[in-house]
Symmetry: C2
Subunit: 251 residues, 2 copies
Amino acid sequence: MIAPVQPLGADLENASAAPEHDVSALDEIGALQRETLGERVTGELRALLVAGRLAPGEKLSLRRVAEALGVSMMPVREAVSRLAADRALEVLPGRAVRVPVLSLAQFRELTRLRLVVEGFAAEEAARRATPDDVARIEVFDAAFRKAASADPPDSAGAVSANRDLHFALYEAAGMPSLIEMIERLWLKAGPILNIDMRDEPRRLKGGSAMQAHARLLEALRRQDPAAARAALEDDIAAAAAHIEETGQLSA
Amino acid sequence: MIAPVQPLGADLENASAAPEHDVSALDEIGALQRETLGERVTGELRALLVAGRLAPGEKLSLRRVAEALGVSMMPVREAVSRLAADRALEVLPGRAVRVPVLSLAQFRELTRLRLVVEGFAAEEAARRATPDDVARIEVFDAAFRKAASADPPDSAGAVSANRDLHFALYEAAGMPSLIEMIERLWLKAGPILNIDMRDEPRRLKGGSAMQAHARLLEALRRQDPAAARAALEDDIAAAAAHIEETGQLSA
DNA sequence: TGTCGTGATCTGTGATCACAGTTAGGTTGG
DNA sequence: CCAACCTAACTGTGATCACAGATCACGACA
């Protein structure tokens, strides 16, 4: 069966002979991104969460956030609504909205899911990564190494570079929905994973993350899915073990 | 003249000496569930999506939905906002909000993710399922078998029983976040997976689903994770293959 | 001194209004 | 008869207002 309708813009070339330009200026300008205020606020809050800038248990006020961002309460409501749907924030019955406090059991479940999902992503990335992908990851690895090795360690820079490195890896898998899935996991794990970085960058000195990243990169160059998965799992497990040791998790 | 006004429940049973009960009546009553309108609307739309009652590409109007549900536009906005965050609905730039239309590539990615995540859930369920869990799943299996074998087939009943069966399995894994993850996948796959059931229940007659369910149950009874995963993967793959054959997916 | 009631203040939720942008339908001009 | 325009209805977004419920601090009572 033939497609009943022409694909949009099927006859753009030789289009009615109207604008005789091979490439019109109109084709150059991309559709300017129309981002609603609600989406912008959502992005802002997401960034704060994954970076650990919002501590578990911290309470947010719609009106305060709205005022801080210079918008009305409405877009903030929408953003909180979305994040609450993903359990990245939680709204207590009649009280305020706050960053969820994970129990030990919840944190362990989250870690197991990360091992499964991100491990799969690493495998897939190892199969499909192009040299360009690997080069991109190497750049973030260098940035992470530099931030972590600095004296004193650049915690914020390390957290940021670590995020970029991981998601550059997941991008290489070429599965958009998978990335969204992992972003949701990071949204939940971010606050507890990165909260201590602020006051306690000692973990970076251990070097386990840098070692895992090195093994990961080598596995990518060899296109070895199993090794890539193993390296990433070690990275996740080591960070999780450190968090559990700090004992900041509730019962 | 009777005593003026008794304090509320003052003489229930020698109230002053009251708290001598080991268990007060106050301990019996559970906190009554407080569900906001927004949450209720969200649940309503979610049910419609997973059941395939909303077709891919179908457009929704906030005002129409609000009127249909007898609420104001506000709760509907919140519900749509949440579902859009999960890509279960999408809001076109300046137009309406509609049920996403999956491309073939998107559908295949979704299927792969389901194999990974739901396969893991099946493994875990096989390890942890109690006889009660298995019995619960068997009930839904019987309901599904009955609905699918009826003449004419009870499509709605089969879809519903199939959903109950799968999520009873995932519940047995005892991982709440995992269930939410799977619910999001079903939210995206539901419309395309179940749309044809309405007009074309022929697929049920094939019996591949019933066979996979039987193998799954047997694996659960034997506590065999690998077999449970294999059975579930066959179930998912068979349904996905059928959908691809119908060719309702866009480019 | 400890406990409970009470009021002011702040919370999220829901409704209503205003608006820019889009869509669809009908009409007009060729 | 067809295409282009134009208007009216409808879209989601955002702001503002109203309200029930929760929190917290202060004060009165036991």
